[in-house]
Amino acid sequence: MIEGALWRKWVFFYFPLTLFLIFLLFPFYWMIITSFRPDGELYRPWNSINYNPFWTWKPTLEHVHYLLEETLFGAWLWNTTFIALASTLISITCGVFAGYALSRLNFPFAGSLGTGIFITYLVPQTLLFIPLAEIIRNYKLGDTPWSLILTYPTFLIPFCTWLMMGYFKAVPKELEECARIDGASRWQAMIHIIIPVAIPGILSAGIFAFTLSWNEFIYALVFLSSPAQKTVPVGVTSELIRGDVFFWGPLMAGALLGSIPVAVAYSFFVEHYVSGLTGSVKG
């Protein structure tokens, strides 16, 4: 703690921390309060009299109703969940296999393959979306969930692989050798000995991959066209804005409901998540 008088603690610690919290969390508060405010209160200019921005005494569910009944929000939620789960599963499988191969097996070009996978992690989606749109169309995958399930792993696998390599490297060689002496094949040793040890890593990679795919926007925006196929971020963007008119109430309600699944997933695994993030940062 900060040594010295109490006022120093307030000036150097509590005050800045509070400012940070307000800055970082206010948009969520605003999202929540907007979702439950009647339109009459929402559309009042900020300089009108009796403008009370931070609270409402007349909370309403009309925006949530509108969102659930007048839009395809339920379908978007289902699409996003399905796509995120499927691409996470693919990425985890590939990441575990590749991570095991790169960290525990000797073969030519292992080093350069590892570097190659690392580099693809740093290729942003915005570099490739135009040629990919063409390829997706040629494969007849346009406007289907598969266009995203197959392309999301390109930015998820490198991260998963990288993370898993770290976990596998930490497993002592002797563990595997004992199993081998007892007659296990390499494959069995991997499945029964090494992978169970790395389960925390698999979990954190899974959470990370899930949130990243839930978050993805540009591929979903470009590859999907019919309203019923869209993901939450794209559906909310394209269907709750008509020309210049923003349906702010339902829009914020959609943002809130669309954020809850990731927030819940992450709150269960916050420690894994942080260790996953930092594990990757330590390189």
Binding site: N47, P158, F246, K282
Partner: protein, 311 residues
């Protein structure tokens, strides 16, 4: 058949089937384990990259294959004033946000590195901007910046900082500042949490020893903490630079590149040209123009990581 293999291979005596003997060879097993990854990355990264280069030297549009035109697209965008603005904006956006994200992130990390009540909860809450889908949280900001209903204007007015209304997203300079603020907001948690992890690997005894030797807090930070934190910082900064440089979502939602094309970045301009107006090859050329810079950053990062590992 399936049942018998399961039963006998549990560390059992009978010789494994041929399929398994192949996998006893490390090279074969490695190959088999890497195939799915290689196929996916090859099909959806390497191949589109090559296609992108081929596309950028033709005059393709949506539905029209197009002919080879050499470097005409690159020549065209080079002379395009909007493209030049986008290049300028991208560098400005990346530089300014990175400085702020690093400074604020480091400050926040130092605060969180202390012991206080509710530490775990504070940390969890602080990550929210980074976790919540960017497009959705950016809409909250857009709503906060709305010229007529802006709660920010209300706050600033009542704090006595402004006298009239501010049209945040309608003025080119203010629109740029607005998207920069949103990007900083989104990036600070990532910097804070990564740097916090770095801070926690530094032994507190080093700081205590320096304090006993009479070093002031600022000196302790500058001569003890900062040098030890540098490797983590470098990796985080380079990673963030790549992400920021190629950013799309925040600008797409906040301004769509406007007002009057004043806030375009590489990615949003490529989207507008390539998808919006259907000039595929020109759009591909614009997004490929990012590549040399991104490549440079990746090389720096790889060299740096290698150097740190050798040490």
């Amino acid at each position: 058949m399936a049942i018998t293999t399961v039963a006998t291979t549990a560390f059992g005596d009978p010789p494994p089937p041929r399929r398994q003997r192949i996998f006893e060879d490390e090279r074969w097993l490695a190959f088999a384990l890497l195939v799915p990854t290689m196929v996916l990355l090859g099909l959806f990264i390497a191949y589109p990259f090559v296609r992108g280069i081929l596309l950028s030297v033709t005059d393709s549009r949506v539905g029209v294959p197009g002919d080879f035109v050499g470097l005409a697209n690159f020549y065209k965008i080079w002379n395009d004033s909007i493209f030049r603005t986008a290049v300028y904006n991208t560098f400005l956006y990346t530089a300014v946000t990175t400085v702020f994200k690093l400074a604020l992130g480091l400050w926040l990390a130092m605060l969180l590195n202390r012991n206080f009540r509710g530490k775990a909860m504070t940390r969890a809450f602080i990550l929210l901007p980074f976790i919540i889908p960017t497009v959705l949280s950016t809409f909250a900001w857009k709503w906060m910046f709305d010229p007529t209903f802006s709660v920010l204007n209300w706050c600033l007015y009542h704090l006595g900082l402004i006298t009239g209304r501010i049209n945040w997203l309608g003025d080119p300079d203010l629109a740029m500042i607005s998207i920069i603020i949103v990007n900083i907001w989104r990036g600070v948690p990532f910097f804070a949490i990564s740097l916090l992890a770095g801070l926690q690997t530094i032994s507190p005894e080093l700081n205590e020893a320096a304090a006993i030797d009479g070093a002031k807090p600022l000196q302790r930070f500058w001569y003890v903490t900062w040098p030890l934190l540098l490797p983590v910082t470098m990796v985080v900064v380079l990673f963030s630079v790549i992400q920021t440089f190629a950013d799309f979502q925040i600008v797409y939602v906040m301004t769509g590149g406007g007002p009057a094309n004043a806030t375009h970045l590489f990615a949003t301009y490529a989207y507008q040209i390539g998808i919006g107006t259907g000039l595929l090859s020109e759009g591909a050329a614009i997004s490929l123009a990012m590549f040399p810079i991104l490549f440079l950053v990746v090389i720096i990062q790889l060299l740096y990581i290698r150097r740190v590992e050798v040490r």
